[in-house]
């Protein structure tokens, strides 16, 4: 694959995404996601 054809933008954005994920997990966002996901979400199912 020559330089012009190499998908730089996609790869850099994907790597940046991974950095964001680790940073988010580091500051506790993954715990918020888990605590929401392990209780029945009453809004989602149309109760609350």
């Amino acid at each position: 694959m020559n330089k012009k054809n190499f998908p730089y933008k996609g790869i850099i954005t994907a790597l940046l995404g991974l950095v964001f994920m680790f940073f988010g997990a580091y500051r506790g966002e993954a715990d918020i996601v888990l605590s929401k996901a392990i209780r029945v979400c009453l809004e989602c199912i149309g109760i609350g």
Binding site: A14, A37, I45, I47
Partner: protein, 288 residues
């Protein structure tokens, strides 16, 4: 790859099998379906790439749109790096391929559209304009309202989940109400309202191909912004294209892949590749 292989690989049969297998694999908490409860294990730290309600009794992972609203509405963080990073990663790798191949709600609409109906509509006047609606829903119901419409504790509702999402009703609301007496006893106006949204969507899916993905889905809206830069992409070899127009005619998302192969509306189903008589279209990682 020869023409017949391409036809098989990008034909509906193979794609629907992948969609179904993925849907089953990510919703395989059987106890949930037997006992009317949901999975509460650590896998739910992770999001799944498609729209898959985490209150589905079988769900093993978290819905990224629900997760995004949960972080915005938690009152603890204003930027949801964890979920945004996940969406950036998936979007940058494959764009809306997720919509075409890995979303259970997309599969449901695909199958509904196969049911014979007196009138199927491929295109209509307001179609182009309505495609922008999903971006408005994303901005308003997933970001702005969960971020700023706070209660006295500084927290907010997941507005999209609560007032729009028919996947939550189908995957979570219906099975949990059927299996769990306590939930059944709590049914009120919101449940009926959300059931009505689901019913409208089901009828619309019989007539129009994937109306939810085209006009409403905030997850599709997010991934669509990555179609232009994603590693996995659709390309047309102009030297092979004979401009027969077959690809644009078979595309149910109304994309012309010879003109705009990076279209935000392309769900990378591959139907156009399977129909191209000269094999001018292909999925590739190369820019050209």
């Amino acid at each position: 790859m020869d023409k017949n292989k391409k036809k098989k690989l990008y034909g509906d049969g193979f794609r629907h099998s992948v969609q179904a297998l993925w849907g089953i694999a990510t919703n395989s908490f059987i106890t949930g379906f037997l006992k009317g409860r949901i999975y509460t294990g650590k896998l739910k730290y992770l999001c799944v790439p498609g729209l898959n309600c985490y209150s589905c009794p079988g769900a093993l992972g978290s819905c990224p749109i629900g997760a995004l609203q949960a972080v915005f509405g938690s009152g603890e963080h204003k930027i949801a790096f964890y979920v945004i990073g996940f969406l950036m990663f998936i979007g940058a790798v494959c764009g809306r391929f997720v919509c075409g191949w890995l979303c259970p709600f997309g599969l449901m609409q695909d199958l509904l559209h196969k049911i014979p109906f007196p009138k199927k509509i491929k295109d209509f006047k307001a179609d182009r304009l309505l495609r922008y609606l999903k971006y408005i829903i994303l901005a308003l119901f997933v970001i702005i309202l969960p971020m700023f419409a706070l209660d006295e504790y500084g927290m907010s509702d997941p507005w999209f989940c609560k007032y729009i999402c028919p996947a939550g009703t189908l995957e979570g609301g219906l099975p949990l109400a059927a299996l769990n007496e306590g939930i059944r006893a709590s049914i009120g106006w919101l449940y009926t309202y959300k059931l009505a949204i689901l019913a409208v969507l089901i009828i619309a899916s019989l007539i129009i191909y994937r109306p939810f993905c085209k006009y409403i889905c905030p997850l599709g809206a997010i991934y669509s912004t990555f179609n232009k830069i994603s590693v996995f992409k659709l390309r047309c070899d102009e030297s092979k294209c004979v401009s027969c127009g077959k690809c644009a005619r078979v595309c149910k998302m109304n994309v012309d892949p010879t003109r705009i192969p990076d279209s935000a509306e392309c769900i990378r189903c591959g139907k156009c590749i399977s129909e191209c008589p000269t094999q001018a279209l292909k999925f590739t990682a190369k820019n050209k």
